[in-house]
């Protein structure tokens, strides 16, 4: 933007060199809607010649002004000071002059300006690696604290209120039934449909029942429930604890010697350890139901045949292996949610970040745990 014209509007700056001083005439409107002029051109084009000059600003032709004028003048004043030119603002409106003085009254604090964190690629990779390591360390430490709390609960030494466990269970168990129903039914339908299309080619329609039952019971029922609970309950835990942190409620627990891990994390963990496996059993059954509906509708297999085939395809070991995983997911969700909440910094944005981070952490850990446990099962032949 050319400063001579001050944008697209009419000429707003005019320099006139007199004997001892230079006069800068400001014309027209100097409002934010007119754009902010920059004094750069005055200096660069050499119009302000020698040093030790006086620059007098004349505003008699100015029609209106607001912060745009003050911005320009502050900038101008700084540039003048740098080049050793005396700036005479006495002909300006009183208000503008005082605002300029106010803006320049307090010198910039040393070190107050954030040094531009233009970290190089390697530096930021290194920093993020260190952060990740530290985060992993904190996670392990918290996991340890939580497991200690769990063992204290087993021996009846932990301090928490049983009523809290019931209330949290109510919120994360029965109240999650609708969404678990919907998702697992549809997963069952999808599995049944895909399986049917493929197996029909070999006349093996009836084995859709095996496919759906084994997939749901061993893997998908627990995993889908875990992911639903991570989004639904893990985020809620992080937001609850994060807000408590912001309100100094967690600090208040510490001062009276109640361990926040005992009082806040333990009830949530206990509730999820019970709720997630129960929801998984339910999800498995609903998923099989979804598979059976598709199969009965699209093939010659009857519901009764489907039921019989399902009953013979999964045994107690399959159920137990799926429910063991579901229990682990419950612990993961509770720990990730509570950890992110307790780590939360003291602001509203931090509570949001805590909730986001809780969901991401839980889902990542659920998938990793799922993969690891499946490999272990494979090796052990379960």
């Amino acid at each position: 933007m050319a400063s001579e014209t001050g944008g697209s509007g009419p000429v707003r700056l005019e320099l006139e060199t007199l004997q001892e001083s230079t006069v800068l005439r400001l014309k027209g409107g100097w409002r934010l809607s007119d754009g902010i002029a920059s004094p750069d051109d005055l200096f660069e084009s050499g119009k302000l010649r020698s040093q030790s000059q006086t620059l007098k600003v004349d505003a008699s032709a100015m029609t209106a002004w607001d912060s745009a004028l003050v911005c320009f003048l502050v900038d101008l004043k700084k540039r003048c000071t740098e080049s050793g030119i005396a700036l005479d603002l006495s002909a300006l409106p009183e208000g503008a002059r005082r605002l300029v003085d106010m803006a320049l009254a307090v010198p910039e604090r040393q070190g107050a300006k954030r040094t531009g964190s233009q970290a190089g690629f390697l530096e930021s990779v290194g920093k993020q690696t260190l952060d990740a390591l530290q985060g992993a360390g904190e996670m392990l430490e918290f996991l340890g604290q939580s497991l200690i709390a769990l063992s204290k609960a087993a021996t009846g030494k932990a301090r928490f209120r049983a009523a809290d466990v019931l209330q949290i269970f109510q919120e994360c168990g029965p109240q999650a039934l609708p969404i678990v129903t919907l998702i697992s039914f549809l997963v069952g339908v999808i599995l049944g449909f895909v399986g049917l299309v493929q197996l029909e080619q070999f006349g093996a329609d009836i084995y859709v029942a095996n496919l759906v039952a084994v997939a749901m019971v061993r893997e998908l029922g627990g995993m889908m429930t875990g992911i639903i609970m991570a989004g639904r309950t893990g985020a809620a835990f992080a937001a609850q604890l994060g807000t408590m942190n912001v309100n100094e409620e967690i600090a208040a627990f510490r001062t009276i010697g109640i361990d926040p891990v005992d009082f806040l994390v333990l009830p949530r963990m206990l509730a999820l350890i019970v709720a997630v496996p129960l929801l998984t059993i339910y999800a498995n059954v609903v998923g099989m139901l979804g598979g059976s509906v598709v199969t009965a509708a699209l093939s010659d297999v009857s519901l009764l045949q489907y039921y019989g085939q399902t009953a013979s395809s999964v045994d107690l070991v399959d159920w137990a292996s799926g429910l063991f995983k579901a229990t682990i997911y419950g612990i993961i969700i509770a720990i990730a949610g509570c950890l992110r909440g307790i780590q939360c910094k003291m602001s509203a944005a931090a509570v949001g970040n805590a909730a986001t981070s809780a969901v991401v952490t839980s889902i990542v850990m659920i998938i990793v745990a799922e993969a690891l446990i499946t490999v272990v099962y494979q090796v052990l032949g379960i």
Binding site: E248, E249, A251, A252, T255, I256, G257, I258
Partner: protein, 261 residues
């Protein structure tokens, strides 16, 4: 009273709280260093200083929430951060803390807030605890509010309820973190009166972190002034005396709202 191993005898033995050469830091970032002051029984001791100078952080070291990077905090003649964790807890039980916004547990009613603290340290029955909770709430002027949740009462009342909770275990030392922040002048004044009343009736020693001049002069009889620039204390003593007679211009400026004659 058993002396901690290697405890100092002399002056610190009868003062309930002594801060000796304490440095507070977050990692490498030093908040305040070389702090030395003694709080006597029955004092209303003010920790003051400009915004962000680390007043609350210093208080955190005195109530067992954050270990100092260096130095000792003597609580009843025992070095708070050098004794075993097991021994620290009963020591901290004698301290009540009122947080900046009350710090009440929002998921519990006012009575439950008090009962939880009681339940942790006493063997009272539920009925007895309710009686005590009612009494503590009555002491701070909140009779009849037992079953209210913190979000249902005003900011000034939350602050008072916070005091009631801090009083649950009849503390000998009562800490207030910015008690009047965000309160209107009348609520703020009432809280000051309450603080003095508690000191007189319970014989408690009071430590207040604040920068409200009106409160400082109304209740404080001893103080330490922390300076954000030099990051250490620049004066100790009666705030009224410091206001008029301190040699340090920064102290007089602070206590006279920046109007130094």
């Amino acid at each position: 009273m058993a002396q901690a191993p290697g405890a100092v005898g002399d002056a610190s033995s009868d003062a309930p709280l002594v801060v000796e050469d304490v440095t507070m830091a977050y990692g490498d970032f030093v908040v305040q260093r070389a702090l030395n002051f003694t709080i006597q029984r029955g004092d209303v001791f003010i920790i003051m200083g400009g915004s962000g100078c680390g007043k609350s952080t210093v208080m955190r070291a005195m109530v067992g929430m954050q270990a100092p990077a260096k130095g000792r905090v003597w609580l009843d003649g025992k070095s708070l951060w050098e004794i075993e964790e097991v021994a620290r807890q009963p020591l901290l039980q004698r301290c009540g803390v009122v947080f900046q916004k009350g710090g009440l547990w929002s998921a519990m009613t006012l009575a439950e807030n008090i009962e939880l603290t009681l339940g942790e340290f006493t063997d009272l029955s539920a009925k007895e605890m309710r009686e005590v909770a009612k009494l503590k709430l009555a002491l701070v002027g909140l009779t009849g509010f037992e079953n209210f949740y913190p979000s249902e009462i005003s900011g000034g009342m939350q602050r008072r309820a916070g005091v009631a909770r801090a009083l649950a275990l009849d503390p000998e030392l009562l800490f207030f973190d910015e008690p009047s922040a965000g309160l209107d002048p009348i609520s703020s004044r009432r809280l000051d009166d309450l603080i003095l009343e508690l000191r007189d009736s319970l014989g408690a020693t009071i430590v207040v972190v604040t920068h409200e001049l009106a409160s400082i002069f109304a209740i404080g009889n001893n103080s330490v002034v922390l300076d954000p620039v030099s990051k250490t204390q620049i004066a100790t003593g009666d705030p009224k005396v410091l206001r008029d007679e301190s040699d340090d211009e920064a102290v007089r400026e602070f206590l006279n709202r920046g109007e130094v004659s």
